[in-house]
């Protein structure tokens, strides 16, 4: 049973930030597409801004690892 809760915790630690990241990136991507239509020179900035929310899922991944490793 403990293994089940460990696995579930680790999965949630990744899944919820991943959903949040996806939602954030969808909003940024839509705004970026509109901005690029008017100013194509913003391409590099836009790619970086889309990458910023990925911190959430990466930290979630780290937490998941810590849960799994800490739980043995």
């Amino acid at each position: 049973m403990e293994v089940f809760w460990l696995g579930l915790s680790a999965a949630l630690a990744v899944a919820i930030p991943a959903l949040a990241t996806a939602w954030a990136q969808s909003r940024i991507g839509a705004a970026a597409a509109a901005a690029l239509a008017e100013k194509p020179e913003l391409g590099t900035t836009v790619v970086l801004m889309i990458a910023i929310p990925e911190t959430m899922v990466i930290l979630g991944f780290v937490v998941a690892l810590m849960i799994l490793l800490g739980g043995g």
Partner: protein, 646 residues
């Protein structure tokens, strides 16, 4: 690094300003600036200059129009190794304007004729497809007196059946309907029926919505048997006319491209001179021009002006104290050693650093490939990237962005190979399986916590370095409080790291108490230096350190995908299918391995690292020089040119 600039003031007789601008343009290092003196009357040129500039802009628009449309390579205008474009004399300007307008009219006429021919060709091609379908259905020996032949176009589906039912009712068995499918889903049909029964059949066809085969324009009176050969003949005529148009266009290009190209370069040079003239201030007898020159080229420029004008033109330094505070106006020239120069492309993706601040290029040159290698960390992928970099290098020209990208890719490939050997990875675990490649530091598949610790430690070093650079930049600008704040922040980050390492027993326990005491002392000092929001900034900085955990996350994902790709070989029943799947997976992983480390490496630099010291807002260095194609990009700063000729 950012090249040292000097601000010069040139003064001389007013009537010599044109010659001075010519010489400055030949030398190509002087960046004109606004004159600050209040003792001059007006800017040179005035309304006349504006009028000339408008005329030249119109001429340039015509030249650009015709050169874009003439066949052949027109983008290699007068380049660095060729003679500069001739000075624009008024008579030559008028000749060029006439030539450009005449050429534009002829090209417009040729384009209109080509468009007409293309439209006619499109129509004929459409009919040809129809007509060929029908010609196969025609009877061999038609008898127009007895039999009427109706070519029809039917929709696919049940329209044929409905038509046959209608014809059966009307004509009984006294007709023949031959059909053949056409491209696009329609059906070609030829209705053969007695000549005298056509009126009622026309009614039936009208009610059923069936249309007759349309005839192309000009061939309406031709019979079906004559139409197809006529279409082919017409297409041959069109081909010939198009060839003639093309050869006329080529003849225009051969005759005029050289002159028009020279004209364009000369007009652009003249426009640059007129723009510089707008910065010149004058008195009744004299002119004053101020501007920036990289310090290393100052002596050469001075010699050249003396050689051209004797002592007539006075060159003096503007005291640094008068412009040192205006860092936003001073143009910035990034000037780094050859090995680091490609990485200027990464710095230039952001606004230029302010003059007097720190050029991050040398640090990017060290850390960006390192991060890339840490994440990709695979000998096989590294060699694949090296091959890609070589191809880009061969296909690019010196001084272009693509050449810089190829050199950065080469550095990243080298780092990936080095870390690949340290991790013992070549296409995942394939190296281990085939040649017994073993990790020299740790195995990324298993040592997740050590890899995470390494990533965070690298982040800690990078962030502290950024804070130290921020402190140095603040000291340079004599911003004592900001320098103190950055220094204390760096110290507190170090103390937090010491305390944490002591807590997990990596450092001896004796460090813990002094670290905590030092933190408690530094905390109020930080608030005094940076304000009440400083603790939030510090927390944000510590969060920035954790952000480097992405190096571990992306690197682990990369190696796991490579391992999965290798396991595909044995997963399916067939080795061949497994190998194909494995190659596909490795290709996808390689593509992700190029994109992910690049984007995240850039993000770590731009957001976490640059945020600690980078001061954007530097002005582009745009010296008065002869126009060159590679430098005609807005906002693109230029590296210092070759030293001016003595």
């Amino acid at each position: 690094m950012i090249a040292e600039m000097v601000r010069l003031r040139l003064m001389g007789p007013r009537e010599r300003i044109g010659d001075v601008l010519d010489v400055l343009q030949d030398v190509g290092v002087f960046h004109p600036a606004h004159v600050r003196s209040t003792r001059v009357d007006a800017l040179a040129g005035g309304a006349g200059r504006d009028r000339r500039a408008r005329q030249l802009q119109r001429l340039l628009a015509d030249l650009d129009f015709v050169l874009e449309r003439l066949p052949g390579e027109n983008d290699h205008d007068t380049g660095r190794d060729e003679e500069p474009a001739p000075r624009v004399e008024v008579a030559r300007l008028a000749d060029w304007a006439k030539l450009a307008r005449r050429t534009r009219r002829e090209l417009t006429r040729l384009a209109a004729e080509r468009a007409e021919l293309a439209e006619e060709r499109g129509v004929l091609e459409r009919y040809r497809a129809y007509q060929e379908g029908f010609s196969r259905l025609l009877p061999r020996e038609p008898d127009p007196d007895r039999i009427r032949i109706l070519p029809l176009v039917l929709e696919a589906g049940r329209s044929q059946d409905r038509l046959r039912d209608g014809l059966d009712a009307l004509l009984g068995e006294d007709y023949e309907l031959r059909t053949e499918p056409l491209e696009g889903g329609e059906v070609a049909a030829v209705l053969l029926m007695p000549a005298g029964r056509s009126a009622r059949v026309d009614e039936l066809l009208g009610e059923a919505g069936v249309r007759e085969l349309p005839a192309p324009p000009g061939l309406e009176t031709r019979s079906l048997e004559e139409a197809v050969p006529a279409i082919y003949e017409r297409l041959v005529v069109l081909d010939e006319r198009e060839r003639k148009l093309e050869s006329r266009r080529q003849a225009l290009a051969d005759a005029r491209t050289g002159e028009l190209t020279t004209a364009r370069a000369a007009v652009r040079d003249r426009l640059a001179e007129l723009a510089a003239l707008g910065r010149v201030a004058t008195t009744h007898r004299a002119f004053v021009l101020e501007g920036w020159v990289p310090e290393e080229f100052e002596a050469g420029l001075d010699r050249r002006l003396r050689k051209s004008f004797g002592g007539l033109i006075v060159v003096e330094h503007v005291a640094r104290e008068t412009w040192d505070e205006e860092a936003e106006e001073t143009p910035v020239v990034l000037h780094n050693p050859r090995l680091l120069r490609p990485f200027e492309a990464i710095t230039r993706m952001l606004p230029l650093p302010q003059y007097g601040s720190i050029d991050p290029t040398p640090f990017v040159a060290v850390f960006f490939p390192a991060f890339f290698g840490l994440i990709l960390g695979d000998v096989g992928y590294g060699f694949a990237l090296a091959l890609l970099a070589l191809v880009l290098h061969v296909r690019s020209r010196d001084g272009t962005l693509l050449r810089s990208v190829s050199e950065i890719a080469g550095a990243c490939a080298a780092a990936s190979i080095v870390f690949g050997f340290l991790y013992g990875e070549a296409f995942g675990d394939l190296g281990r399986r085939l040649v017994g490649l073993r990790p020299l530091v740790f195995d990324r598949e298993e040592a997740l916590v050590p890899f995470l610790a390494l990533a965070v430690a690298i982040g800690f070093v990078h962030i502290v370095l950024g804070l130290v650079l921020g402190m140095i930049a603040a000291v340079r600008h004599r911003q004592t409080r900001e320098a103190a704040g950055r220094g204390i922040s760096a110290l507190m980050v170090v103390l937090v790291a010491v305390a944490l390492l002591t807590a997990v027993k990596i450092l001896p326990g004796g460090f813990f108490t002094p670290a905590v005491i030092a933190l408690l002392i530094a905390f109020p000092l930080l608030i005094v230096a940076e304000g009440l929001l400083a603790p939030l900034e510090l927390l944000s900085t510590l969060g920035n350190v954790l952000s480097y955990a992405r190096i571990m996350a992306l690197g682990t994902a990369s190696v796991m995908m490579a391992v999965v790709a290798n396991r595909m070989v044995g997963a399916t029943g067939s080795v061949l299918v497994g190998v194909v799947f494995a190659l596909l997976f490795h290709t996808v992983n390689f593509a992700l391995g190029l994109f992910g480390p690049t984007v995240h490496g850039l993000r770590l630099h731009y957001v976490e690292f640059f945020g600690k010291f980078y001061s954007p807002g530097g002005a582009s260095y745009r010296p008065l020089r002869h126009w060159e194609p590679a430098t005609d990009e807005p906002g693109e700063p230029m590296s210092p040119p070759d030293a001016p000729a003595a």
